[in-house]
Each structure stands twice: as structure tokens, then as C-alpha cells.
């Protein structure tokens, strides 16, 4: 069909006024982690019995060993920034439907006692101090609900 036959090209919008909500099962490991966040403001990891790697957040299986992990380990609240960025490009958060407020800094922190990393917002009074290798401490929210958002941020110390 030629361009002359189609003077107007349409795009049809989806989901007018619709909302589709998901309910994700956290499972035993993440539930224990989220309950410790909520009730004790603590971060619980888990140790691999085969290679001693400590995963925080915890999970059932160590990927390289394919071994089931059972030993809980408390980690943090201090840690080190392993990688980070400050996001300037706005986008619509698919979890909230709201445009994320930018700029914001986030990155992955290795909490003291952990081998894996944990992602969250990074905050510092002087933003130039948010860089790889900087020491941070977890800042918990006062009102906690058993959600990753119970960690407000990692604050550079």
C-alpha cells in the first residue's frame, strides 16, 4: 500500500484506566530477610556451606556451587560502594506509573561481612563523595513494612 493511500498513521494506546497488580511470593529466604528488616532493622544474609560466600540479600541456592544454603549471617550496617551512578534521564517507573524523580544516585554496596552486593539509593551531603570505594552506612526508615524500601538509602560516612 502506498503512502498516498494512507495519509494518517495511527498509534493505538493500551490500558486506558486499567491497572494490573502482581503479588510476588518472597519465599522463605527473602521473607526472613524482609521480616528482619521490618522488625529489627537488620540485614540478614546466608552463607554457602560449600564455598563460604555470603549472599546478602539471601537466596536458597549459591549459583556456582548449586548448593542449598541454610546458615543465616547478619551483615552490615556499614559497607563499601562497589559501583555507582547518578541518573539524570527520567523514565516512568513501571512499578508505580510515576516518573522517577531525577537526578538520583544509586549503586551497589558490599555490606561488611557479605560477598554479594545490594542495590539502593546513595546519599551524601557532598554528592562528589559518592564514588567507588566510599564507606557507607545503612539508613533505615522509621516506618517499615517488610519491603526493600525499608532501607531508605546508603549514606556516605
Amino acid at each position: 500500500m502506498s503512502e498516498a493511500d494512507t495519509p494518517e498513521l495511527l498509534a493505538v494506546r493500551s490500558r486506558e484506566g486499567l491497572e494490573q497488580v502482581f503479588h510476588y511470593s518472597a519465599g522463605r529466604y527473602l521473607s526472613r530477610f524482609l521480616v528482619a528488616l521490618r522488625d529489627q532493622a537488620k540485614v540478614l544474609g546466608v552463607r554457602c556451606p560449600a564455598c563460604n560466600t555470603v549472599y546478602a540479600p539471601p537466596k536458597a541456592v549459591c549459583d556456582p556451587c548449586f548448593a542449598e544454603m541454610t546458615e543465616p549471617v547478619e551483615v552490615g550496617p556499614g559497607g563499601v560502594i562497589r559501583n555507582c551512578t547518578t541518573l539524570h534521564a527520567a523514565f516512568v517507573d513501571p512499578e508505580t506509573g510515576v516518573t522517577r524523580p531525577v537526578p538520583y544516585a544509586f549503586g551497589n554496596v558490599q555490606l561488611d561481612g557479605a560477598d554479594s552486593l545490594i542495590q539502593n539509593y546513595l546519599v551524601a551531603e557532598d554528592p562528589s563523595r559518592i564514588r567507588v570505594g566510599a564507606r557507607v552506612v545503612i539508613e533505615f526508615r522509621q516506618e517499615r513494612t517488610g519491603n526493600m524500601k525499608d532501607i531508605r538509602c546508603f549514606r556516605v560516612v
Binding site: L9, Y24, E95, G107, Q119
Partner: protein
């Protein structure tokens, strides 16, 4: 080892930001028609179809069925493969495996994406762990920015080093009629473009593209009858590592790409990739990947890539040109992007790359990147493997 298999035809759409003139099926049809024309075949010659995209970009979850009139899969065996960013190279590896198994002789492999139909960053966020990663994660932009932050801290690599890669690829794209963005840029333009996720600037980053790519694989019994110069698969490798971003212990070296490359070089007997490989189409969604991932592929040692790139080793006239097509930072219909790498290597081997042809290509490498830093490698050869 399986039977030998080769690419005997390729087709790409006219890649653009928004192809409002076609829906998804029609976009796929455009690439399929061009691949069939290139191989001088008809859809009746095809005995199976493999198709893939990242379904959360379009929100259509049964693409293998939905795309039938575009793919030509009506009453044929059809299957879908999706592995996120690596979808295109997974298609190329899966299609190769099917033909090398001897179960299929002439297989149509299709990758496509209509990135204009949703918010790409938002859609990528939905590919991450819903409980642990989605709260702060910000798609490929930020995921790659944090990789760059580690690499820069470890080796003192600068945004100016990365910008040199962008200048190379965006210049190359001007010679590729299929490239989405065909505008050469200077170092200063890259370094002064808007900051999108520190240290990445707009011109360090790939675009979002509407586009499709189709390739036809043929088995050793018919490849040379269909095509005077098939692009033979020598070997294909891939590695997946972590399931979620919070598992990643660090990306100073991308372990999946290092391991996939290590197996590729071991399988093919290649000792010095920089000298032995004639052209590379690197799945490089951002300029910094054009440095760090050369090192993960063992084209040079850790921290040595910037010097090679500044010295012009990876330019069109260099010892081993990278991304003569303009690469991913010029064209990025995500589910097609990896397959375009393979199609472009096939064009180079066949001598059909036109203005972006590298002379005398015997061996060409295509790679794929995606997921939680997952990697695919496929080596193609002019010579039929022994």
C-alpha cells in the same frame, strides 16, 4: 560435533526511531522478504522458523503465533526464543544448533523489536527481580553506567577514552544504509552531550529503534547450492551468570564474556584474536563497552583497550575493525540487535557490505550482551570448517 551450517541470506528493515507505517508483523515481513530475496529462495523452501524479541517491550506474549503472517510460519514448525538483550545472538546460536543437528536444512531465523511502542527503560526494569532490584534500578542506562564506574575506578579510563569509541562507530554508521543514526560526531560533541547517567552521556549510548533482521541458515548439504559464499559457523559459545543484579559481585571483569570467549578461542584454536580475527561486530550498547569488553574478549590485556582504540587499531583501516556497521550505538532494535551483528558478519564474509566492507574478511566475530551481564560469542568463517 554436529553438521556444518552457514548463513546463506540476510535481510534487514529500514531501521528508524518510529516505524509508524508498519505494525510488528509487517516490520517482520519486511526483513523476511529481504532475506528470502537475498538467498533467492521462497517461503516454500523454508522448513522451520525461529523468532524472538523481548516481549515486555511490546507487551505481546505469544509472538511466535501472533507474527505468523509476517514470519511466513503458517503451517510450519515455529518456535520462540527470548533471553533479553542476548535474544538476537541466542536466535543465531539456537538456529545454528537446529541446523547443525541435522533436524532442519533451511531455517529462517528472525529477531525484531518495536522499541517505540513502550518506555524502554521502564520495560527493562520489569525484567529484573521484582522484590530486590526494581526499586532503584534504571534499565540499561544505569546498569551500564555502574559497570563503567567500576572500570574507570580500576584502570583510570576516562570519558574521553570512551568518546573515541563513539566517534568511531557513529562515523562508520554513515556508510551503512540500514543504520538508524547516520551522523558523524566529534569527541567534543560526545563529551558535551547531555549527561544521562554519570559517566554516560547521550552520545555514549545506543538509541531505541524499530527494526527487524532475518537470516537464513542452511545445512552443509545445500548451503553452497543456495549461495556462492556461505558464512560458515565455526563455533558458538555462551555463558549466563547471575539471576539478579544484587548477586553481581562486580564487573571490573565481565566473567560471562571472558568465559564464553575463553571457550571460543579454545574450540577454534585461536591464540591471538586481535591478529587472527578480521572483523568484529561487538554487541556494544554503550561506548565504554567498546573498551572494557575488548579486554574481556582477550583482544588485549586489562586496561589496555583505550590505547588500541586511540591508535586506530579498531578503525576501518586498522588491524581489526570493530563495528563497521556503526554498531549498536547507531542501531538498536533490541531483539534484533544480536542477530544484526551476525548478519553484518555474514555480509562482510560474503563481500556484500558495500561502503562499510572490510577487505579480505576470512574470520568474523559476532557477540551478544544482555540480562545480568550475560554473553554470547559466534565465530563465522569464509572457509568451510574441516
Amino acid at each position: 560435533m554436529g553438521k556444518r551450517a552457514a548463513i546463506v541470506g540476510t535481510g534487514q528493515t529500514d531501521h528508524k526511531s518510529i516505524r509508524r507505517d508498519v505494525n510488528g508483523q509487517e516490520l517482520i515481513h519486511e526483513a523476511v522478504t529481504r532475506a528470502l530475496e537475498d538467498a533467492e529462495m521462497t517461503i516454500d523452501d523454508i522448513d522451520g522458523v525461529v523468532i524472538g524479541n523481548m516481549d515486555h517491550f511490546e507487551g505481546i506474549n505469544y509472538v511466535d503465533c501472533w507474527s505468523i503472517d509476517g514470519s511466513g510460519g503458517y503451517l510450519k514448525p515455529v518456535m520462540k526464543l527470548c533471553t533479553g538483550g542476548t535474544t538476537g545472538t541466542t536466535l543465531a546460536i539456537g538456529g545454528y544448533n537446529m541446523v547443525a543437528s541435522g533436524m532442519f536444512e533451511k531455517l529462517l531465523v528472525i529477531g525484531w523489536e518495536k522499541n517505540s511502542e513502550s518506555d524502554t527503560t521502564g520495560a527493562i526494569v520489569t525484567a529484573t527481580d521484582p522484590i530486590l532490584d526494581r526499586g532503584v534500578m534504571a534499565g540499561a542506562l544505569a546498569g551500564l553506567a555502574i559497570e563503567a564506574s567500576e572500570y574507570a575506578a580500576a584502570y583510570g579510563v576516562t570519558p574521553r577514552d570512551a568518546a573515541r569509541v563513539s566517534v568511531r562507530d557513529r562515523g562508520n554508521a554513515c556508510n551503512n544504509p540500514h543504520a538508524h543514526l547516520q551522523k558523524a560526531v566529534t569527541l567534543e560533541e560526545v563529551l558535551n552531550s547531555p549527561l544521562i547517567s554519570d559517566p554516560l552521556r547521550l552520545l555514549d549510548m545506543c538509541p531505541r529503534t524499530d527494526g527487524a533482521c532475518a537470516v537464513i541458515y542452511a545445512g552443509e548439504s545445500c548451503a553452497e547450492k543456495i549461495c556462492p559464499q556461505p558464512a560458515w559457523v565455526v563455533a558458538a559459545t555462551n555463558r549466563h551468570t547471575y539471576s539478579r543484579f544484587s548477586d553481581i559481585k562486580g564487573q571490573t571483569g565481565m566473567v560471562s564474556l571472558s568465559r564464553a570467549a575463553e571457550e571460543l578461542w579454545q574450540k577454534t584454536g585461536i591464540r591471538e584474536p586481535l591478529k587472527e580475527i578480521d572483523v568484529v561486530e561487538l554487541y556494544q550498547p554503550y561506548s565504554w563497552g567498546g573498551l572494557k569488553w575488548m579486554e574481556d574478549l582477550s583482544f588485549c590485556g586489562r586496561g589496555e583497550a583505550p590505547k588500541l582504540v586511540w591508535d586506530g587499531v579498531t578503525d576501518m583501516e586498522g588491524e581489526c575493525p570493530f563495528n563497521p556497521s556503526g554498531g549498536v550505538i547507531s542501531t538498536n532494535p533490541i531483539g534484533a540487535t544480536g542477530l544484526i551483528r551476525c548478519a553484518e558478519i555474514a555480509l562482510q564474509i560474503q563481500g556484500k557490505a558495500g561502503k562499510h566492507q572490510v577487505p579480505d574478511v576470512r574470520l568474523g566475530l559476532a557477540t551478544g550482551f544482555g540480562g545480568c551481564f550475560w554473553s554470547d560469542c559466534i565465530l563465522y568463517s569464509k572457509k568451510k570448517p574441516e
